[in-house]
């Protein structure tokens, strides 16, 4: 068993707990559900991600002729994977979330947990189902509020615990996981469903076209000739519980959440601060929080949007902090940028990389860029021991988060 510091949280709380003798719970991921352009469910998603399968296709949901790109990580022929809720009561983002939660529930064998009804729900989103009021206000008004996303999850998995929605753009999934982690760690909650969900919106195509951030066809993070991002969609939900509970019921553990950090650039709404100092503060806070060294991190699941500014800033931060060429990959090259779901899906990637000792590739890579001088695991998955994986996410509003996942075996 890998041993991490028990008091692996903020310094004031650490002092308080050392004084009071309170024992903090270790938090592990025992279930994963994913809805994405390369497959539903953790196993299918992972198989395709490791193979480098592209989910980028021509967008069919709306007319893209006005925009810089006609391509996206669109989920085609989606059939909600739900057993309790009526999908008609919810928008698409909530349906994605509920489906991912149902998968996580089954993946964790949560039906065997007697008090699973006490679980909390912590979900992130960027835009939610705001599209619902675009076409039919009278119907949409009941389906568009962002809290309908965690409500759908709660109703689908039959929980009675608290629910929260944290709409922090592209860091939202990480924030959902952080919120759940803190509750379980502090023994306020035993179980939680946490993640993020978003649907592809035409307003995103309009907005990112105006910002000249959309790639015409391919998303090629860290490549010298990268041309921007591709918009995606989907959801990921992790089932988190205390290690005590997981051991007692003999649950399969994917990974342990061992620390996190968050910051804000306070610089620009849409552009990362060029020196990457905001992301650097979030990553260094996460490493401090976990009580590890930079050399202990074996893999970084990058924010890696494929835009010139994001990728060069992120690569610069990684090189400054880690001072070595550790594997860094971006699954956005395969599924596009799923906005509020992105960091939740990438958290699932970290958990599976830690569990399976495989790193999915950055696809479409051909030309190294001196401004992104990192090992981006080009085009082919890599089999290597992953003891600790870091999940980076940055967002509109200057938000940055980093969540660390470690082996627990």
């Amino acid at each position: 068993m890998t041993h991490y510091p028990v008091f692996n949280n903020g310094r004031y709380e650490r002092e308080k707990n050392l004084q009071s003798g309170d024992v903090l719970e270790r938090v592990v991921v025992t279930g994963i559900g994913i809805v994405s352009a390369i497959g539903m469910g953790a196993d299918r998603f992972w198989d395709n991600a490791v193979k480098g399968t592209s989910g980028i296709t021509n967008v069919e949901r709306f007319d893209t002729s006005y925009y810089r790109s006609a391509f996206g990580g669109e989920i085609k022929d989606f059939i909600p994977y739900v057993k309790r809720i009526d999908p008609q009561d919810y928008g698409l983002a909530a349906q994605y979330a509920a489906s991912a939660a149902r998968m996580a529930y089954e993946d964790a064998a949560a039906d065997g947990i007697p008090d699973i009804n006490t679980a909390g729900v912590f979900m992130g989103t960027a835009m939610g189902d705001c599209d619902e009021i675009m076409h039919d206000v009278s119907l949409g008004i009941m389906r568009f509020p962002a809290y309908k996303i965690p409500e759908a999850v709660s109703a689908e998995v039959g929980t009675e615990g608290d629910v929260q929605i944290l709409p922090n753009a592209c860091t939202a999934g990480n924030y959902g996981i952080i919120a759940a982690y803190e509750k379980i760690k502090n023994n306020k909650l035993r179980y939680a469903f946490a993640g993020g969900s978003d649907m592809m919106l035409e307003s995103e195509f309009l907005g990112f076209s105006k910002l000249r951030s959309l790639a015409p066809s391919d998303c090629t993070p860290f490549d010298k000739n990268r041309t921007g991002m591709i918009i995606g969609e989907g959801a990921a939900v992790l089932f988190l519980e205390g290690l005590t509970s997981a051991l007692a019921r003999g649950a399969r553990v994917y990974a342990e959440v061992i620390g996190w950090g968050a910051s804000c650039d306070a610089y620009s709404m849409a552009m990362p601060i060029p020196d990457g100092s905001g992301l650097e503060r979030a990553m260094s806070a996460a490493v401090r929080d976990a009580g590890i060294k930079y050399k202990d991190v074996d893999y970084i699941c990058a924010h890696g949007t494929g835009t010139r500014t994001n990728d060069s800033a992120e690569a610069g931060v990684i090189n400054r902090l880690f001072k070595r060429r550790l594997p860094v990959s971006s699954v956005k090259s395969m599924i596009g940028h799923a906005m509020g779901a992105a960091s939740a899906i990438e958290a699932a990637v970290c958990c599976m990389a830690v569990k399976k000792d495989v790193i999915p590739p950055t696809t479409g890579f051909s030309t190294p860029d001196a401004e992104c001088d990192i090992d981006c695991v080009p085009n082919e998955a890599r089999h290597t021991v992953v003891r600790i994986a870091a999940n980076n996410a940055s967002a509109f509003g200057g938000n940055n988060t980093c969540v660390l996942f470690g082996k627990c075996e």
């Binding site: 949280n9 903020g10 310094r11 004031y12 709380e13 650490r14 308080k16 006005y66 989103t125 960027a126 835009m127 939610g128 705001c130 599209d131 009021i133 675009m134 206000v137 008004i141 509020p145 962002a146 809290y147 965690p150 409500e151 709660s154 009675e160 615990g161 608290d162 629910v163 929260q164 929605i165 944290l166 709409p167 922090n168 753009a169 924030y175 803190e182 035409e202 307003s203 995103e204 309009l206 907005g207 990112f208 105006k210 910002l211 968050a262 910051s263 804000c264 650039d265 306070a266 610089y267 620009s268 709404m269 849409a270 905001g278 503060r281 967002a395 509109f396 509003g397 200057g398 938000n399």
Partner: protein, 323 residues
């Protein structure tokens, strides 16, 4: 966590004292409020109307807090907001539907994202600590305050700007009216820090958040209200009988609380995600005056006040303030 500054904007007042006067008068004053006139500064060009309202409240809170502020990288923003980007999103969607896409500006899209207000506040205030938006419906600013408390106590931030903002628009008004309430604008922000830091910096302490409890149950009943209130009191190390008065959220399920009550929504209308923060401001103003709006005198010394947030959307919360 202690509060050392309050910024409040309502359609009928821009101060906690003004809110107390309105509570004494007792007449409904809900509605829209004008966009505040702010001194020109870099960054305001990109701010939409709701951001300006939140920023005006934030500036007042920081001004009241004086020199209690901390390093910018340790200053976090915790904002409750449910419909903040809705007006801008509506504008964009109308341009798409009516094929006027060319007239959409990049800043419109940026302001349509749900965390846009908190991001803009961070830029305007140079707040580079963690930046969190909560959209838990009617309980959003309640959650923002609870997160601020937790992040302060766990050392994640040293100074917090926390509160809520809501702004009238057609969809928001329809949503609130469909749920039987009177929609209104509101912005309320607090400057907050750890008690020891406030004392060492000589800041005036308005209130301390000492306990809370929350839950979610569409169609909650009186028993649920009682359970949440009891949990909040327990979290604060108190009994319900120790509470001097409760600022209620006006739900039917709160009607049998056997403690002195203040229902501010009869005056402010439904400010939704800002409502819990406004209730905190109301509690501080009542304790400063030393009398309830109905004229009953509060006991001398420290008062324990419960702030309730029980919304038609199923979000439940109670917090305890020591004032």
């Amino acid at each position: 966590m202690v509060i050392t500054g309050i910024g409040l904007l309502l359609p009928f007042t821009d101060s906690a004292e003004g809110l107390f006067c309105a509570l004494k008068r007792g007449s409904m004053a809900a509605g829209s409020m004008p966009v505040p006139e702010l001194e020109p500064e870099r960054g305001l060009v990109a701010a939409n109307s709701i951001t300006k309202k939140a920023y005006a409240a934030m500036k007042d809170a920081l001004s009241e807090s004086g020199n209690a502020a901390a390093e910018k990288t340790e200053t976090g923003i915790f904002l409750g907001n449910a419909f903040g980007s809705l007006r801008t999103m509506n504008d964009i969607q109308e341009k798409i539907i009516s094929d006027r896409r060319r007239s959409a500006m990049p800043i419109d899209f940026i302001n349509s994202v749900m965390n846009a207000v908190a991001g803009q506040l961070a830029i305007l205030g140079g707040c580079a600590g963690m930046n969190l938006t909560l959209s838990t419906g009617s309980r959003a600013s309640f959650d923002a305050l609870c997160y601020a408390r937790y992040m302060l106590e766990s050392g994640r931030v040293s100074f917090a700007v926390a509160g809520g903002v809501e702004e009238m628009n057609d969809v928001y008004a329809m949503f609130i009216r469909q749920n039987g309430a009177v929609p209104s604008d509101g912005a309320c922000m607090f400057a907050a820090l750890r008690r020891a830091d406030a004392q060492s910096r000589g800041a005036e302490i308005y209130a301390e958040l000492i306990g809370s409890a929350s839950g979610y149950k569409p169609g909650f009943d009186k028993a649920d209200v009682k359970r949440i209130m009891e949990h909040a009191a327990k979290d604060a190390g108190l009994e319900l009988s120790d509470i001097d008065f409760v600022v209620t959220s006006g739900s039917d399920a709160e009607s049998e609380i056997s403690l002195p009550l203040i229902d501010i929504k009869k005056i402010t209308g439904e400010t939704y995600s800002a409502s819990a923060a406004i209730a905190v401001a109301a509690a501080v103003s009542v304790c400063r005056e030393g009398i309830m709006p109905d004229g009953k005198k509060l006991r001398d010394g420290i008062n324990h006040v419960m702030i309730n947030s029980f919304g038609f959307d199923g979000f439940m919360g109670s917090m305890i303030l020591k004032i």
